[in-house]
Each structure stands twice: as C-alpha cells, then as structure tokens.
C-alpha cells in the first residue's frame, strides 16, 4: 500500500521533470532555413503601436520606419548636409518659396508601384488632409504641383529655411497602397498601422510589435545596388526587461540591442571581449524647466540661484561619464550651437548670495519637481539635486508621472507646477525644434515651453530666424537667442546624455546616428565571423 502511493507521487514528479528536460533538449531553434551570416537578431523593447510614417513620431518608431521608408532627401550627420535620396537634385527659388525636386528614375515601391511626381504629391496631400503627427511640419506648404512625371514642386506660403528637414522627415508612401487600402476615406491609415509600402532598403514581412517578432527582409528591387556583404533578414526580438536584453546579447542569442543600454550595465559589457559598445552623444539635451510666470520661481534671481546650486559634477560622476555637460539650451551637435556660452558648475557660495538677493537668505521654501517614472537617467540627477537644495534649506518634493500625464500637466496653466525634467531632441539639424518649441511664448501650453517663459525680444529673434533665408544672419540670430535664454534662466541645462548601444563584435558596419539615436543603418550592416 505504502509503496504504491509513494510510487504515484514519484511518478508524477518524475513526469514533470521529464517534460522539463525534454523540452530543454531541442533548444537551439533559430530561424529555420535562413543563412545565419545574413540574419541579424536585434533585441528591442515594445515600441509604439503603429507604423504609419506620418502619424508615428519619436525615437521608439524611428528604428522601424527608417529602413522601410525614404524621404525626398536625407540628412548626413557626418557631412552636416542634406544628400539626395528619392530626389536626385533640387532647386530652391531665390525667395525661398519654391522647392523643385527632380526625382530619381526607376525607383520602385515595395508593392511594385513606381515613384512618380504624382506619388510625392499624393503623400504630401495625404499628410495635409490627415493633419496628424508630422503634418505640423507642413503648415507652410501652400500646394504641391506635379511639373512633369519626374519633377515635383512644393510651394510655400512663407520662407522656411529648414524646409529640407521637412522633406527628410516626410516619408513617401506608395500611391497604390494609399488607394487600394483606403477604408472609408481614411487614406489607408488603418492599413498602414501594421503594413508598410515604402521604397526603403528593407521591406516588412511581419509586424506584431507586442506579440512576438517584427521581421524585415531585404528589398531586392532597391534603387541603390546591393554591393558587398549585407543582410537578408532582420528579426526584432521583443524583450522587455533590460537585464534580459543583456543576457540575450551575452549568450549570442541576440546580435544587437536597439534600445538604450543602461549606464550601470556599461562596465560589465565593456569587459566582455565578444561585445562592442557604441557610445556617442546625439543631439539631445536634458533640462529642468522652472516655472517663470508664477510661483516662487517667477523670481529670476531664485532661478539663477538654482542653476548654481545644481550639482553638475556630482551628477556626471554618478553617471560614470556617460553624459556630457550641457552648454546652453542647444546640444553641441546642432550646427547653430554657441560654444562661447558658460558651462555651469556648482557654486554654492554664489547660489547662497543669489538666494539672499532673491529674498531667501536662509532658504526655507518648498518646490516641486516632476519627472518621468522610473527613468534612472533622470532619477539620479533629480535626487542629487534634491539633496543639494536640502543643504540650502530648500525642500524639493519629487513626483514621478508617466510622460503623457506630464505633458498634460505642464500644458495646463493651473496644473503646471514649479519644475519638470525634460529631454529635448532635435531629430534633425534644426535648432527650432528645441529653441522654438521649448522657449518661444507661442509654445506655452502647447509644446515644450513648460517653464511658461515669455520674452518678447526672444520671440522676435526666433520668429525672424526661422524665416530668414540668409544663413549668416540666421546663425547670428540663433546665437543671440541662446544668449537671451541663458540670461533669463528659464531652465537648468543639466546634461547631454550619451546614447549607448551594444552589439556582438560580429555585427559590422554599424554607424551611430546623431540625429535619430535608435535608427540603425541596416543597409550597411553585415555579419562577419559569427561563431555558430
């Protein structure tokens, strides 16, 4: 009796163990039938939902849209200039109001349609009609004309010196797809959420960002000839937790992590000879906005005191050199950046003096600082700042919110509080995205002027600069704008965070992207000497 009941238990446990061991046996399942020298497995977290290149904006989708779609021109961060892409050449009229693009011949979309002037017009008109996402870049576009099948002319209502940036960001979509997949006049919005029809070097095989893999394959009909070694298949493996992403890379189950690697992982990854780290400074800046229209921080002296109280050196040390000091409101890699501006250092004597001048000789005030939930790159500076101000008898309460909640809060006049942590990027070589959206009074309550900061002179300078077609004059105006902003201290310029990516050493040809930090140049990447 006893024997029998025991054996039952043993049997059950044994069966469970057998199942476990059994399924561990056939573990090595990579993509069947594909040449591993031409396959790359990129490890990524979950991004935004859709793929529509007009509507989906931001660093979480850039990495998917860039290999699939192309604009008329492309920005080359190395040369700091725009290069031909779908347009072979372009001419700007002297008044800066007409851009005429000569299209490349023989370019095909992934669905077989040909690139024509009609296709370009179709994309631009679609953007104007949908009026979401990147459509705001097209406010100055009066109309798009088809001159002949390979020539398209875009007519602007006012001079827009950064218009080439727009033609870089607006990706051309196949007219056939827009027409065939139109659902109740939505111009294929629904379809483009999970499908793609661009001209890029890779085409979409599978899009299930939340479920499992995203798969791209090489587009054989790409207009640029494929030379040398290259990839055939790209698999984006969904791995949410950074620690898990790292394990996949370390075991070689993933070839590259296409999300930001955490600074704390850098020392260990650096020591691993099988891995290669790429660390570079993209056009991004971290700031703390200070509400300058009401509340205690309306006092400029107090704001200035805080900029001197901020523990810059301590923060950079705590981030292990994976960030650089900020110099004024613009990141250094933006061409208009003014490198004569001061680089702040913590100066508590000066901060105390300014505090006294501001009317707080012994401190004794409370401020609120909002930051994005659980983001280490923000939390370390925030907590060190909190502790530095505590030494001046200023109490800072930190509140963590999700980014959408933060956006809503700081665009609302009564809800917006004293200080907010904010990361601004340019996503292209234009200072306007930061200067106009962050500091112009038009951007109050709308975009990123979370300091609710107004300076009439600055507004004038920025408006003039953004419509001035004389490069020298424009440069002078932008320099002036930066100095005005630094003088008014509506924000603490905290640091320029580094971009960190990690890959196996067998992944060759990767070039860091200064403007779109997570976009990977898939068409130039190849695998050499993969172990297995």
């Amino acid at each position: 009796m006893r024997r029998r009941s025991h054996s039952g238990l043993v049997l059950v446990l044994g069966a469970a163990a057998a199942v476990l061991i059994l399924c561990s046996a056939g573990l090595a399942t990579t993509a069947p039938g594909s040449d591993t020298q031409r396959l790359v497995i990129l490890v990524r977290s979950t991004g935004q939902g859709g793929l529509d290149p007009l509507i989906q904006v931001g660093s979480s989708v850039d990495k998917f849209i860039e290999p699939l779609y192309e604009g008329l021109v492309v920005y080359d961060p190395g040369a700091k200039a725009y290069r031909a892409s779908l347009a072979e050449s372009w001419i700007v009229s002297p008044d800066g109001l007409q851009y005429t693009f000569k299209l490349r011949r023989g370019v095909r979309f992934h669905d077989g349609a040909m690139l024509t002037a009609e296709a370009v017009k179709g994309t631009y008109d679609r953007a104007k009609r949908i009026n979401l996402g990147l459509a705001y870049l097209l406010t100055a576009v009066a109309r798009t004309d088809v001159v002949d099948p390979v020539t398209v002319r875009i007519v602007l209502s006012q001079p827009t010196p950064f218009f080439l940036y727009t033609t870089f960001r607006i990706k051309i979509i196949s007219p056939k797809a827009i027409k065939e997949h139109d659902l109740n006049g939505d111009l294929a919005q629904q379809w483009l959420v999970s499908n793609a029809a661009g001209t890029g070097p890779f085409q979409l095989v599978r899009w299930a960002p939340e479920q499992n893999d995203i798969v791209f394959k090489r587009f054989p009909g790409y207009w640029k000839p494929w030379r040398g070694p290259h990839l055939d298949t790209v698999v984006y493996n969904r791995v949410v937790e950074p620690a898990t992403q790292r394990q996949l890379l370390e075991r070689g189950d993933g070839d590259m992590i296409v999300d930001q690697v955490l600074p704390q992982d850098v020392p260990a990854l650096r020591q691993n000879p099988a891995l290669r780290l790429d660390i570079w400074t993209p056009a991004r800046i971290e700031i703390i906005t200070m509400r300058s229209d009401r509340g205690p921080l309306a006092n400029r002296k107090l704001r200035e005191a805080l900029t001197y109280a901020f523990p810059y050196e301590q923060v950079l040390a705590a981030l292990d050199g994976l960030a650089g000091p900020a110099q004024g409101p613009l990141p250094r890699s933006v061409p208009e950046h003014d490198d004569t501006l001061p680089i702040y250092k913590q100066d508590l004597t000066r901060a105390r003096r300014l505090l006294a001048e501001a009317g707080y000789p012994t401190g004794g005030l409370s401020l609120n600082l909002v930051m994005v939930q659980a983001l280490a790159v923000e939390r370390i500076p925030a907590e060190l700042f909190q502790s530095a101000l505590a030494a001046l008898n200023i109490n800072v309460s930190i509140q963590e919110l999700t980014f959408p909640a933060m956006v809503t809060k700081f665009r609302n006049e009564t809800a917006a509080t004293d200080m907010a942590f904010l990361v601004l990027d340019t996503a292209g070589p234009t200072p306007d995205r930061i200067l106009y959206e962050g500091y112009h009074s038009d951007a109050i309550g709308k975009i990123y002027n979370w300091a609710w900061y107004t300076n009439v002179l600055l507004d004038k300078v920025l408006t003039e600069a953004s419509t001035s077609i004389d490069p020298a004059r424009r440069l002078a105006l932008y320099r002036r704008a930066q100095r005005i902003i630094v003088g008014d201290a509506p924000a603490i310029f905290v640091l320029e965070p580094a971009s960190i990516m990690a890959r196996r050493t067998w992944v060759k040809g990767f070039k860091p992207n200064v403007m779109l930090p997570f976009a990977v140049n898939l068409e130039e990447i190849y695998i050499e000497g993969r172990g297995r």
């Binding site: 704390q264 992982d265 705590a318 907590e383 509140q399 963590e400």
Partner: protein
C-alpha cells in the same frame, strides 16, 4: 464559508477553551519565534533613527555601488547611500503602510460583514453583489487608475489597496455571524430577550475574534507584498523615500552586477512576510476551538 459550515457539525466550544489556548501558546515554538521576529521588526521600525548607522537620504557619490562590507553591511546604492540604513528606515514606511491599509479595511469589512450576516435579507444580498464586484475588480487596475487620476502618492496607493481588501473581511465576518447565529445558545439568548447589540457583543464577536485575529496577522504579509508590488511599478512612495518595494524597483536594473542593491530590501520583505504568515498560522491553530480533537 465551507469551513464554517463544517464547524456547525462540531460540538460547541469546550469549557476549558482558555486553558487549552494557553497551553498551546506555551508549547508552540514556531509561534514564539515568529512573534519574536515580528516584535523585532516593529522595534527596528520604531528605533530606526537611533540604530541606523548612516542617514538614509544623504548621497555619497564617490562611494556608490559598493559591495557589502563592515562599513556598509548591505552595500551602497547608485547614489552611495547605505542600503542597510535605508532598509531600516524602510521598515517604518513599509510597516506603516500595512497598518494603515488594514486599519481602514478591517473595521469597514467586519462592521459591514457583521451587519450583513446579522441582518440578512436584502441588505445581505446587496452586500454580496457589492463584494462580488469588488472581489472581481483587479486590484492592480484600480490602484493604477486611482494613482493616475489623483497623482501617485502613498496615500492614494493606501486607499486603493484598502478598497480592494475590505470585502474579504466582510465575507469572513458574515460567515462567522451566520454560523453563530443559528447556535442554540444564541437562539436561547434571543428568546430571553437579549438585544441585538448584546447578542453581537456577547456571543458573536467573541466567536469571530480568533479567526479574525489570525487572518489579520496573515494578511499583514500579503498587504505588504501588494503595496510593495505597486511601489515596484512606480505607484506609491516618491523618491527618495526608502520604501522596500520602491528600493527593489530602483535596484532591479542593477541586479546583474550589483546584486545587493535589490536583494536586501527583497530579503527584508521576505522575512517580514514569512514571520507574519507563521504567526498567523500558529495563532489560528492555537485559537481554533475545534482543533483539540486532532492528532499530533
């Protein structure tokens, strides 16, 4: 409810109940060990400012991410703060939250449960539906929604957890009342003209107290885990407050190279939960009037 029904088939409590409980309390070493740990935890929480070797909020960047040593028993965190001191201070916050949540949920739940069981009828039916709804409602979703609506704060998290926790007390209490209400001696008391309050206070509450005490004790751990779980996903205390769940969340991304950062707060939670669980179990066994017949 099932167990209460079973209990109906057993004889009424034997007269020497208190003597039996006392005997059991004396001989149960698990009970003693766990109460000792719980007492120690509460003591640490109260004495944190005097026992902690370092201030819990003071950064010390040059000494960041140090492994455990004689100076820093539990190592230091990303800002160089002493993890041991933060764990000690954290006990105040974490245990405080637990007491606060149960302080709200238990009175509300038991009062409503007693009322529903005693009153019966429509009120009982209505309460059954309401508790169904609250039971069915995912705690996490409610906590997140409340936090999202009112802004993340420890008070909001406390309210959210209490809001999903009271129905279990209401059910327990209702079951107890139902079980006792049918007993002959209660019927007798009623026949003798005892008022509602008297019956509740003299006959029903004393009977319901032991399982209630046991459940509260066991729940301490569960509430702690729930609150820590919410802190872990960023709903709850705001930095730099050293709450255990939040500390684990902070240390999570450092686990691979700096194991101590998240492990020690995790162990603190584990020890606390285990201690409360064993204390609750032992109390239940010691106080359970129907337990004397059993083997062992």
């Amino acid at each position: 409810m099932m167990r209460d029904a079973v209990r109906e088939f057993e004889p009424a409590p034997i007269p020497t109940y208190s003597g039996m409980v006392a005997r059991r309390l004396r001989t149960n070493w698990v009970l003693w060990a766990s109460s000792l740990i719980v007492a120690g935890l509460i003591g640490v929480a109260l004495a944190a400012p005097w026992v902690a070797p370092f201030p819990p909020l003071q950064p010390d960047v040059p000494n960041r991410l140090q492994p455990p040593s004689w100076r820093h028993w539990f190592g230091t965190d990303a800002l160089g703060r002493d993890v041991f001191s933060r764990v000690l201070y954290g006990s105040r916050i974490s245990l405080g939250i637990v007491f606060l949540i149960l302080g709200m949920a238990v009175p509300v739940g038991t009062a409503l449960g007693a009322a529903a069981g005693y009153q019966g009828g429509r009120f009982d039916a209505l309460m059954a539906r309401v508790t169904d709804m609250f039971f069915a409602f995912p705690a996490l979703v409610l906590a997140m929604a409340i936090n999202a609506a009112l802004g993340p704060s420890i008070v909001n998290t406390t309210i959210a957890v209490a809001a999903v926790w009271w129905p279990s007390y209401m059910r327990l209490m209702r079951g107890q009342v139902l079980a006792v209400r049918q007993q002959p001696y209660v019927e007798a008391a009623r026949a003798l003209g005892a008022g509602h309050w008297r019956i509740l206070a003299r006959h029903i509450l004393p009977n319901a107290a032991p399982p209630l005490v046991a459940k509260v004790t066991t729940d301490m751990g569960h509430v702690l885990l729930t609150a820590a779980g919410l802190s872990f996903i960023g709903l709850g205390v705001q930095p730099p407050t050293p709450e255990w769940g939040a500390m684990i969340a902070d240390g999570r991304t450092y686990m691979l190279d700096y194991w101590w950062y998240a492990t020690f707060p995790g162990l603190a939670i584990a020890v606390t939960v285990v201690a409360f669980a064993f204390l609750g179990d032992s109390l239940q066994e010691a106080l359970d009037p129907s337990f004397n017949r059993r083997v062992g």
